[in-house]
């Protein structure tokens, strides 16, 4: 199977390393980062591209753009793993449209296009007889989308809720364990690379909210936007509040919740018993689903990270390979 890889940051490099390390029958014929691109129908030397990137150089040639790779490279699947733009989803949205029009499957970890334009993209994929897969957009390594679409097919989901943001979970874990203030825990998360220089997207619950929108729109048949999510972040939490919770054998976690029947999407800090399955430590994610046939299920796993997110992308790629792509 031949893929074009757009994005050579943490996720893109994780995919490249996995392809190098394992025999996955995947050849990369197109590669682009934000500054450069490479097209090689015989397969790009990923080890060399990783080395260039490691030295702070562009991964390819400056006169080849991501759009060139999408439009001109010879590939079966476009793997779109550039950073999320929550407002317009561009430039990823345009690249995905173009690939689908070229009858290419698309696998993405980018939340923007899926949250903003899923119905359109899905229709476009169907019209062109190709797959559009996005497992890596929600909860990193946890195969949640696959479990909901395939494993739990036929179930009616009455409620879906959980810990969707590892950065917030890390901060709250540390505040509870060490009595740190929010600011101290955030500084620690930054030092460890769990939080961005501008942590707004995580700590204000935007990241969790956009994941809810993706699940609502693609799995639960709802039509929602980010503005429909009732959202409260964790920035105002105090160590005292966590202590008061602990006095009652509870703690506080940032919980995203969807109740389809009520049309309700909500992200907010919630009081939760310490023994509850959703109380996970550190940067882990955890999601509970309440269904009519299967009962209640809880999924726990790493929600971010280079290799972990690559795992979700590779899962999608091999799904397509096993069902559609001939040869390798």
């Amino acid at each position: 199977m031949r893929i074009a890889l757009l994005g050579f940051g943490s996720v893109g490099r994780g995919i490249a390393r996995a392809i190098l390390a394992k025999d996955l029958s995947i050849t990369v014929t197109g590669l682009a980062d934000s500054r450069s691109g490479l097209i090689d129908p015989d397969g790009i030397d990923l080890a060399a591209a990783l080395a260039r990137k490691g030295n702070g150089d562009p991964c390819g040639l400056p006169d080849t753009s991501p759009a060139d790779v999408v439009a001109k490279a010879d590939y079966d699947v476009l793997v779109e793993v550039t950073p999320t733009n929550v407002e317009t989803a561009e430039p990823a949205l345009g690249h995905i449209r173009e690939a689908l029009r070229r009858h290419k499957h698309v696998v993405t970890s980018n939340k923007g296009p899926i949250a903003i334009a899923y119905p359109e993209l899905r229709a476009l994929a169907e019209a062109n007889g190709v797959f559009l897969k996005y497992e890596a957009t929600v909860c990193g390594a946890i195969p949640l989308i696959h479990a909901l679409q395939e494993g739990l097919a036929g179930n009616t989901i009455s409620r879906l809720y959980g810990v969707f943001n590892g950065t917030c979970n890390y901060i709250l874990t540390r505040m509870a364990a060490e009595g740190l203030t929010y600011e101290q825990a955030l500084a620690e998360a930054r030092e460890l690379g769990y939080a961005e220089a501008d942590p707004t997207y995580d700590v204000e619950g935007i990241d969790a909210a956009i994941k809810l929108v993706i699940l609502a729109n693609t799995i639960l048949g709802m039509q929602t936007t980010l503005a429909d999510v009732e959202r409260t972040g964790i920035t105002l939490l105090t160590p005292d509040a966590l202590q008061l919770a602990e006095d009652q054998d509870c703690t506080i976690r940032l919980i995203g919740e969807i109740v389809p029947e009520a049309g309700a999407l909500r992200v907010s800090p919630r009081l939760i018993p310490e023994v509850h399955p959703l109380v996970v430590e550190g940067t882990l994610n955890a999601v509970s689903v309440e269904t009519d046939l299967a009962g209640e299920l809880t999924f726990i796993g790493k929600g971010a990270g280079s290799t972990e997110t690559a795992s979700a992308v590779i899962g999608d790629l091999l799904y397509i390979q096993s069902r559609h792509v001939q040869g390798s």
Binding site: T238, D240, C250, P269, R270, L271, L278
Partner: protein, 162 residues
Amino acid sequence: MKLEMKDQPGQLVAALKPISAVGGNIIAVIHQRETSAAAETLDVQIVLELPEGRLDTLLELFREQGVSVVRIGEERLLYECTLIMIGHLMHTDLSDTVDQIDRTGSAEVTELSLVMPAIDSPSSARITIRSTTRAEAKKAIGILRGVAERKDLLIIEPLEDA
């Protein structure tokens, strides 16, 4: 509640069975034979806890058993939920915040723990609300949400089972 039943062997057991059938918990049974006015019937007083919404089912089962309910005592506040509030709780009149819940008549604040770290920095409070039903608890949380918005407080609600 106070029950009236036929004074025959096995009747008391027959009257108690429906309580466990609806998931109730018997706290006390008071059986005073001599106070009954009619010789053929027996008066029994029962104190019990019932899951929400089961009282009507229980009364129906009693009727089927030929047990008549003479009187149902006051429903106590059995549903409890705990929340945490963060913000300038004292400066925004904490007693008014509590009063907004108590004023409903169907829910009341039964416990409040307040931590005030320093002047001008936000305080945190854990607040326990008892109410007659879960629906009333939800209503109380709704009131508190409105208050929090007006007073610029952060409310941390419990994660309840659906």
